[in-house]
Symmetry: C2
Subunit: 325 residues, 2 copies
């Protein structure tokens, strides 16, 4: 089981390898939100998202003999890049299984980070079968994107930093809104903050609010669709088996924002914080800015969880904001 | 005279008020530059540029009685915003004289930061005369944008951070490329690094390379034009009286980049560092990426000095990069 002690142990292994990302603020965002807003900018983490933390924690928890045979990850997303870089830094082989129609830039980036990329055809091939066969043949260890004790612990290191950086600013009680896909980031941070005055609440895009609904109903709720949000980085079918119980125990009610609100938050992060957010990484900021009535307290903290966004989508966010001004 | 002791004193006054901005890196930028690249991201400073440092240093150096009457700054640019915020945080009145045709957003921002904005007509009115009359009537103290001992000392606090952050990464000798308008930022950093293995070199846009030419010729060289670069934040007519002698003594040869290279650096900072740079704030990174033959050493450090860029210009940079890919 993952608990605060395991989060602390992961944070110790991350020390000197992870970036301590800044807690940003802007008087202009405070004004929109109607309270003080502190933004944990994990888009400035290695590979542009918090995912490097969990990948490093999982890889450094492997027995040396097992790890040296190599690790395996799925997807073209932020997790794959986190695993690729952590493996390269640790001198371990990494294989990433990606759909052949993934954006060329993401395939190139994952390769450039030293991973072997295995492409498959989404229409005719089964990703899990390909991964299982590779793992079997080469003795690779699968590193899941969120439902894994050490991955959760690694993401939780963000929460330890948030608590320290908030305390430096005199903040010891506040809601901490966390971008949520499968819940690895949110549950890790919740464990890191257990017993403090800081309480995690998840933020998700509308239509993909499985975690908010699961927390409300007390059982696992699935999303009707598997794609169709601009917040692609945090679209998952349902909460994790490990992450949901942690959040049931520690988190407040989940928040939900529209794709349009996520895009406006991307534009405001550009204008007021000077950082690049991807839509899925901006849903927590969107909740802070556009759902203030659902949040209590003089201060709110949120994560800005990633910045791996195409230029086209980013320009759409800037144009959307111009219309809104 | 400004020296290392004055820089250290300014840094002490800034402690707890300034952001210690991160020193970022990306393996993808290292590959383009052909060496290790470390980027001091001052776009993440309060008000989106390093200018807050010099403003705070200048305002906190005033006698209490003089300061309480208020301070005066010119321009719609980064310096005005730095002065406005520093004055508000110190509870001092601030007046900013701006052209009436300045972008509405910049006027609004400066007002929102608590400054009184006095507009003038560029075609028919004389900015200096208006400022002088206001200063006389109200007992305001002018805070110049760069040619001022405490402003230089405040900007130099960036150099102390660079030295510490570089040492943490094992770097004790390297060129430090600094975006240069009047030279306040570059000369302050040069003083902070005096006697270390880190050497400042200025970066400027082509056609506005007065500092590079002045350093080469040993005398004050002026620019032929006063506007016409996309790097508007660092277009100045000639080097400062205080800044040039400091750079003559301490800096290496100046570097010059094209507007197009500055735009490409903006796009690469978006893509690889996840930060928002304005073109003038990206000229040092552009020199690092596109003029590698003019730089020596395994590692190079550069400033990313500001991120106050309009959405339109930013989109132009992203489109320019897409063409280049």
């Amino acid at each position: 089981m993952t608990d605060l002690a395991r989060v602390r142990a992961a944070a110790e292994r991350l020390q000197g390898h992870v970036r301590r990302t800044p807690l940003l603020s802007s008087p202009f965002l405070d004004e929109i939100a109607g309270r003080r807003v502190l933004v944990k900018a994990e888009c400035l983490q290695h590979t542009g998202s918090f995912k490097f933390r969990g990948a490093w924690a999982a890889l450094t928890a492997l027995d040396q003999g097992i790890g040296s045979r190599g690790v395996l990850a799925y997807s073209s997303g932020n997790h794959a890049q986190g695993v690729a870089l952590a493996a390269r830094m640790l001198g371990l082989p990494a294989v990433v299984v990606m759909p052949a129609d993934a954006p060329r830039l993401k395939i190139d980036n994952t390769r450039a980070l030293g991973a072997e990329v295995v492409l498959y055809d989404r229409a005719t091939e089964d990703r899990d079968a390909i991964g299982a066969a590779l793992a079997e043949a080469r003795g690779l260890t699968l590193v899941p994107p969120f439902d894994h004790p050490e991955v959760i612990a690694g993401q939780g290191s963000t929460g330890l930093e948030i608590a320290e950086q908030a305390a430096e600013r005199g903040v010891t009680a506040a809601d901490v809104i966390v971008c949520c896909g499968g819940g690895g980031f949110a549950s890790g941070i919740a464990l890191a903050l257990e017993g403090s005055g800081l309480r995690v609440r998840t933020a998700e895009p509308a239509g993909f609010d499985d975690m908010a609904r699961s927390l409300a109903s007390g059982q696992v709720e699935r999303n009707a669709a598997l794609s169709g949000s601009i917040c692609d980085a945090i679209v998952t079918p349902q909460p994790g088996k490990l992450t949901l119980p942690i959040l049931q125990r520690l988190a407040g009610p989940g928040l939900v924002v529209t794709d349009d609100e996520a895009l406006r938050a991307v534009a405001l992060a550009f204008q007021r914080l000077k950082v690049v957010a991807e839509p899925g990484g901006a849903v927590a900021l969107a909740a802070v800015l556009f759902r203030p009535a659902e949040i209590k307290g003089d201060t709110v903290i949120c994560t800005l969880s990633g910045g791996n966004v195409d230029a086209e989508v980013f320009q759409r966010a800037l144009q959307r904001q111009a219309v809104n001004d």
